[in-house]
């Protein structure tokens, strides 16, 4: 694989990769597949009608992983990619996605990804998605990322989704829609930090359709400078089910954070809870860390790091 230093940095940031991963992978660079590996249980096929791939995981596949990082280092490149994941029944797999953009020019670069998961009966998936952006000094091109994730959880299926966008993405609109069958379980941990003039929108919708299904959404965000964030979560409780969503934000400087919880129950046995808290860093937390020898700035950084990474 012929990738340069910038691309290596992006891969490290979004997928913790210093070399080619073990197991199945598909590395997409500047709009094309750069490198791919399939295994006996995991097949990856390019779509023919649109840009993107199908990832098919055989039933019963245990403890295997798929890496599908996307890196963009060409200024002005805009792409729309459809990736579909078919997770076979009774399998247990980890999928590591992520997108890194290095914009070296004055044109906007954008990655719009639509990921659809079909998680089979009693299958377990851990899905990790990191977004990262950087640019060359003096350039004005924005880094834009708009991921849509659609999750269909069959009976007894479980998915843990961890998403992180800590630095460098100017504008993002993240949409996650899920439907859950009987006994299915969805857990989402989202970490977002915005700085400068950045804007981040996050919209979650979960239809809790099956008996005894459950959904837990935990979003932790930090908004600095003049950035703006809007978090929306909608839980539709249509059966005996448990739904919980939590939005916790640290606000700094002149930032604006809006949290919009929506709960709709159409079953008397639906138990739905939403918690939202927006506030500045507690002064006593900074004082505590200063008594341990940290400066005020170091204390602030430590608190933010823990708040976001500990989610």
């Amino acid at each position: 694989m012929a990738i340069d230093e910038i691309q290596k940095t992006l891969l490290r940031q979004v997928a913790d990769l210093d070399s080619l991963p073990v197991g199945a992978y598909n590395i997409r660079s500047n709009g094309k597949t750069e490198s791919r590996n399939v295994t006996a249980n995991i097949d990856i096929v390019s779509k023919e009608d649109v840009s993107g791939i199908d990832i098919r995981i055989k039933p019963g596949t245990m403890h295997e992983s798929v890496h599908i990082p996307v890196i963009i280092s060409e200024t002005g490149l805009k792409e729309l990619v459809y990736n579909d994941f078919y997770i076979g029944e009774n399998s247990d797999v980890t999928i590591i996605a992520g997108c890194g953009i290095h914009n070296c020019g004055n044109s906007d670069s954008a990655h719009n990804g639509v990921h659809t998961f079909f998680v089979g009966k009693n299958a377990k998936v851990k899905y990790i998605e990191k977004h990262y952006g950087e640019s060359d000094e003096g350039t004005t091109g924005k880094r834009l990322m708009n991921p849509t994730t659609v999750v269909h959880l069959d009976e007894g299926a479980q998915m843990i989704m961890e998403t992180a966008q800590i630095a460098g993405i100017d504008d993002t609109e993240r949409v996650t829609n899920a439907d859950l069958a009987k006994g299915a379980k969805l857990e989402i941990h989202e970490s977002v930090m915005t700085t400068g003039e950045q804007s981040a929108v996050s919209k979650f919708t979960a239809d809790l359709n099956g008996e005894n299904c459950s959904c837990d959404i935990i979003s932790r965000t930090v908004a600095k400078n003049n950035s703006k964030q809007h978090f929306t979560s909608r839980l539709n409780g249509n059966n005996v089910c448990a739904g919980h969503s939590e939005c916790d934000s640290i606000i700094m400087d002149n930032a604006v954070v809006l949290a919009t919880p929506e709960l709709e129950a159409s079953s008397t046995d639906a138990s739905l809870i939403h918690e939202a808290a927006i506030g500045k860093i507690a002064g006593e937390q900074i004082i505590k860390l200063m008594t341990l020898g940290l400066t005020e700035k170091e204390a602030e950084e430590q608190i933010i790091k823990g708040f976001l990474m500990g989610n």
Binding site: A282, I287, L292, Q302, I303, K305, G306, G310
Partner: protein
Amino acid sequence: MLELKNICYSVSDKQIISDVSLTLNDHFVAITGPNGSGKSTLAKIIAGIVTPTSGRIIFNGEDITDLSITERANRGISYAFQQPIRFKGLTVRDLMQLAAGKDAKYSELCDYLVQVGLPAKEYIRRGLDDSLSGGEIKRIEIAMAFARSSELTIFDEPEAGIDLWSFQKLIQVFKKMVNETAGNILIISHQERILDFSDKIIYLKDGSVEMYGDKSEILPQLLSGTAGGSV
């Protein structure tokens, strides 16, 4: 050695601390006195959390009155909070590492937890958040003070907010700390059992030092009620 010279502190014309002058150079000194006598404020003034209206603070010959909390911490002053602070996302390990220094090994951090009676494996990865009980987080606060090994460690009412069972253990932990720590300890307490193993006792009332001397001299007066107010 810590010297307080004519420390005063007032808020909106209300005098909280009135002209307190003390020289502290003993291993274990307790500050006691009625609620509202200014004990916690005085401790916070020493740690740099509260700035005195007037007066000077001298630590090991250096005037530290104008130094920040961080600078005082780095010169060897530690402060354990009456109500330990909780953090979303930071773990017991994170805080213990900050207290012990970045070079401290994982095993050392575990040892400090064991010293305060907490099974390290069970606690080291836990969040320092609302999931911990008052007694648990208090012991972690004390473990952090152990880990800092400072020249002067200030404890603000370590017994506050914990149940009787935890208090028995707390006493044991403190006895151990007094015996094993080289640095000096300044502790605010209402508890006779803690005052009983101090070297010296300061009795504060209405923001002034009413008595300061050896435990053998002060404690009997406090217990007999001749000190002019309850402890």
